[in-house]
């Protein structure tokens, strides 16, 4: 099976400090991966790399077995297959609908198809009828769900989640866990970071543990 991502001799440093050093790692499509590790273990750095936002200092990143070329023109079509949801997501000023439709508009999806996908994404995260609400007036949990809907509406090949359940109440967390766990079944590869030791067991999939930027174990 072809790997979705393949990391070969990847090095990433901030000044003199190496924050990521992965010699060989392959991630396959349609699976769920949880990245664990202490603060500063390199989880977010790895996600930013996989989101094609920041290039490595050394080594090679392959996407669908093709080496990634770090030029804007080459990155744009790849970035449109991968969506990263930040730990503390930013919602654009305006209503929920325009937020969820943001990425669809960039991809030229308009009219009924856009309406359908926004509606479907909001229903998926348990916020039907929220389209006309002002994004800035939502609670933290609702904002997290809208950000998730904004990512899901794009039907990405890869969904990268940075601590998606860290800042939400228990009810929202349980709800979103269910949404996340169902994604690989819909063909979306999920790679999420977590601090909660119970998440890998509950969500299933494969666990990747990082220590000081290095791959410590893979279960």
């Amino acid at each position: 099976m072809n790997a979705l991502y393949r990391l070969i001799g990847i090095r990433k440093s901030h000044g003199q400090r190496t924050v990521l050093a992965i010699d060989d790692l392959a991630l396959y499509p349609g699976k769920l991966y949880t990245l664990t590790g202490a603060n500063g273990a390199g989880k977010t750095t790895l996600l930013n790399l996989l989101a094609l936002l920041t290039p490595p200092c050394g080594g090679e990143l392959r996407y669908e077995e093709e080496p990634v070329r770090w030029s804007n023109a080459a990155l744009l079509p790849l970035r449109r297959q991968v969506t990263l949801l930040h730990q503390s997501p930013y919602l654009f000023d305006g209503i929920v609908f325009t937020n969820v439709a943001f990425g669809l508009k960039l991809r030229g999806i308009r009219g009924e198809e856009k309406q359908r996908r926004v509606k479907q994404a909001l229903e998926l995260v348990g916020l039907p009828g929220f389209g006309q609400r002002r994004a800035r007036e939502l609670s933290g949990g609702e904002a997290q769900r809208v950000a998730m809907a904004r990512a899901l509406a794009l039907e990405p090949k890869v969904l990268l989640l940075d601590e998606p359940l860290a800042n939400v109440d228990r009810a929202t967390s349980e709800y979103l866990e269910g949404v996340i766990a169902a994604l690989p079944g819909r063909g979306t590869t999920v790679i999420m970071t977590t601090h909660d030791p119970e998440h890998p067991g509950r969500l299933g999939g494969e666990l990747i543990h990082l220590v000081a930027g290095e791959l410590a174990c893979r279960i």
């Binding site: 970035r79 991968v82 969506t83 930040h86 503390s88 654009f92 000023d93 943001f102 990512a151």
Partner: protein, 228 residues
């Protein structure tokens, strides 16, 4: 005291009667200021955004220069542009000295550092997640910067209004490059200076009241934007 009260009454009467001299000066002021701020916006906003979001050697120096240019005396701008567009200057053949075009050029130069600096401040204070969020949702670099500008629209509008406030109230550039020609390049500020010098205090006061009203409106609008 009676003199001031009488002058004030005459000034109000001049405004209410839509005196031709007053109307022409107000129209010239507003028209020149609007064109100037349009050009200053086209140059200043992209410059402010570019300096704000990119890191490059000498960035601190560029910011210091922009800050210094904000305090540029209007007569210095007038002098510099005069040197360029006067008959002996490199652009003397255009023959635009003592025309509204010359005033627009001078006031644009005056407004660019203000618009750029205020835009830069807005960008520096922006949420750092805006551009990465747009990128992760599939925006290209240019689209993500457009989204940043959209999110910061009130701050950018405030920058534009601050520039407008500066150019509508200035006198040095208008006088030196426009020449204060009646019915052509005479603005509110140059007319105030001249009429007061002639002893026509009431006309000067009438224009002063209108200028203050314009400045008040601009500042009220600015305050509303800053509260959003």
């Amino acid at each position: 005291m009676e003199f001031l009260a009488e002058t004030f009454r005459t000034a109000i009467a001049l405004i209410l009667s839509l005196d031709g001299e007053v109307v022409t000066a107000v129209a010239t002021s507003i028209s020149v200021a609007l064109w100037s701020i349009l050009f200053a916006t086209l140059a200043g906003v992209p410059a402010g955004v570019a300096v704000g979001i990119t890191e490059f050697p000498g960035k601190r120096l560029v910011i210091t220069i922009l800050n210094t240019l904000m305090a540029l005396p209007t007569v210095v701008v007038g002098l510099a542009v005069y040197g360029i567009i006067s008959r002996q200057g490199p652009l003397g053949e255009l023959g635009i000295l003592f025309t509204p075009k010359a005033m627009i050029i001078g006031q644009t130069v005056l407004a660019i550092p203000i618009v750029a600096n205020f835009t830069l401040s807005t960008v520096k204070g922006a949420d750092p997640r805006i551009i990465p969020t747009a990128l992760t949702l599939g925006a290209g670099p240019f689209q993500s910067v457009l989204q940043l500008a959209k999110e910061l629209r009130f701050g950018i509008m405030a920058a534009v209004i601050a520039g407008f406030g500066r150019v509508i109230a200035e006198v040095g550039v208008a006088m030196m490059l426009g020449g204060n020609i009646r019915g052509y390049t005479r603005t509110m500020t140059t007319a105030i200076a001249m009429e007061t010098g002639k002893g026509e205090f009431a006309l000067g006061l009438a224009l002063g009241i209108i200028l203050m009203a314009v400045a008040l409106l601009v500042n009220l609008f600015l305050n509303i934007l800053q509260q959003r």
